[in-house]
């Protein structure tokens, strides 16, 4: 447990150092710098999960949620109807911000085993994880009520304003020869319609399936005495 905390602190301290050092390197080294920062953000989450030696029930529950998020893309037979974001967000809301991040990152990694790894894989892990983490944080007990409309609206907003732009940032670093606010803005604007089409299924799933899903999870937790797991 102590080792985990030290490693986490080191990892977080490395972020500013990476950025400062990365600025000194010539050329388009910002792609590598950004990748390192992503790794340094994700490592504390992974380490704290390893460090607390998760029980079998938590392990299986996380795996099930992640697998559901990936399988939902195939199970719902509508092209471009991606329920993945909504499922990750629900995992975050039900199990807490930290578990939301894990489910998101895991979902991105595993779905790329099926749909092909790419230079975007670390970015996807980060963005999906951050989406689950954010929703888990917003809807933790006592902050926002778990109303279906609120769930749907916040979920759609998170896709358009948070997850989508994070994913577009990988294109900004990969495809631009010169980074200026204007050129970056052009890429973000190009990504905007895509993000909106992703937000629609996210809203629908959260609106219609959100409450029942959370109730199901709560019921499983209650029935099998996993109350202490909720974040």
């Amino acid at each position: 447990m102590k080792k985990t905390k030290i490693l986490t602190a080191v990892s977080l301290l490395l972020i500013p150092l990476t950025v400062i050092f990365g600025r000194k390197l010539p050329g388009r080294s910002y792609y590598i710098t950004s990748l390192l920062v992503i790794l340094e953000i994700m490592i504390p989450f992974f380490l704290s999960f390893e460090g607390r030696k998760p029980e079998a029930r938590e392990l299986v529950l996380l795996a099930v949620l992640s697998a559901l998020a990936i399988a939902s893309r195939v199970v719902i037979p509508i092209p471009n109807f991606k329920a993945t974001y909504a499922m990750i967000m629900l995992a975050g809301i039900a199990l807490g911000a930290e578990s939301g991040f894990l489910v998101g990152a895991l979902t991105a990694l595993v779905s790329n085993f099926f749909f092909g790894q790419g230079p975007h894989t670390p970015w996807q892990m980060m963005a999906y994880g951050a989406g689950g983490c954010l929703m888990g944080f917003l809807f933790r007990r006592g902050l926002l009520p778990r109303k279906r409309l609120l769930l749907g609206l916040f979920g759609a907003a998170a896709v358009i304003l948070f997850i989508g732009p994070l994913l577009d940032t990988s294109s900004v670093f990969m495809m631009l020869s010169r980074l200026t606010p204007e050129t970056a803005l052009a890429i973000y604007l190009a990504g905007f319609p895509v993000n909106c089409t992703q937000a629609v299924p996210t809203f629908l799933v959260l609106f219609f399936l959100g409450k029942p899903f959370l109730e199901k999870l709560d019921r499983v937790k209650l029935r099998y005495g996993m109350g202490d797991m909720a974040g």
Binding site: P26, G27, R57, L59, V75, F81, G118, S177, V220
Partner: protein
Amino acid sequence: MKQDAFSRCHPAVSFLFFILVMLLGVLIQHPAFVAAGVCAALAYYLLLTGTKGLKLLLFSLPLLIAVAVLNPLMNRTGRTVLFTVFSIPYTLESLIYGTVLSGIFLLMILWCGCYGAVMTSDKFTSLFANLIPALSLLLVMVLRMIPNFMRKGRQITGARMAIGKSVAGDAKYTEKAKNGMLLLGSLTDWALEGSIVTADSMRSRGYGTKKRTSFLQYRFTLRDGILMFMTLFLGAGVVFSMLRGDTAAAFTPLWDVAPLSPFGLGCYLLLLLLPTFLHLKEALTWHILRSGI
């Protein structure tokens, strides 16, 4: 599935190789290095995937062209103006820079394609099984559950069809979405119940009582050691050449590319062609052995 020689090596060797070549591929902007990289990566990619991989490449062609052609609109610092679009000077330098960028992008696509073919999920998890035991177990479980869930999804669809609740292919979007979400809901129910059974079964078999051992299929042999050494040695050569400034390249505002260094380029090409050479060596040995009979 047919495997090439490099795929049969220890996962650590393959992983190191891919991380190294991807890092070098992103960092080096020198046109000669990029061109050499694309050729070498393409050779191995086609060796692995054949004509199927070629089709996938054709799909990414529009994006690659867009990166090259649109770069002058984003980066307006070149000197040689070819023409003006919307009062934006379209410069030759910037176009060349865009072409190099799309070359780097293609290189990444190719290496990722090779990575996907060589580093299968079982290799990935076996590599990290001892380092991050809980996470790699999680990964294995997810990989196992996905086909399972899809099968169950099909079963639910079939059952719904039998009671006349199927949705026709030309139904309205809302109808389809509603049906899909119902399906997802019942799948969730089933999966959550199953998860408890799995977890209890794991616990009664002693999960978490002791350090988990893992089944490792790959053994680090002398050949893997030699390959790893060669990868690191050639990689060090390339890095040395980079530090010397052989790969320095600036395109805008003026073309300023370092003169070609045979040493650096040689090291880089040899490194990238390692898997291809390995394949050729085995094919050749096999051929000689067969003709000797």
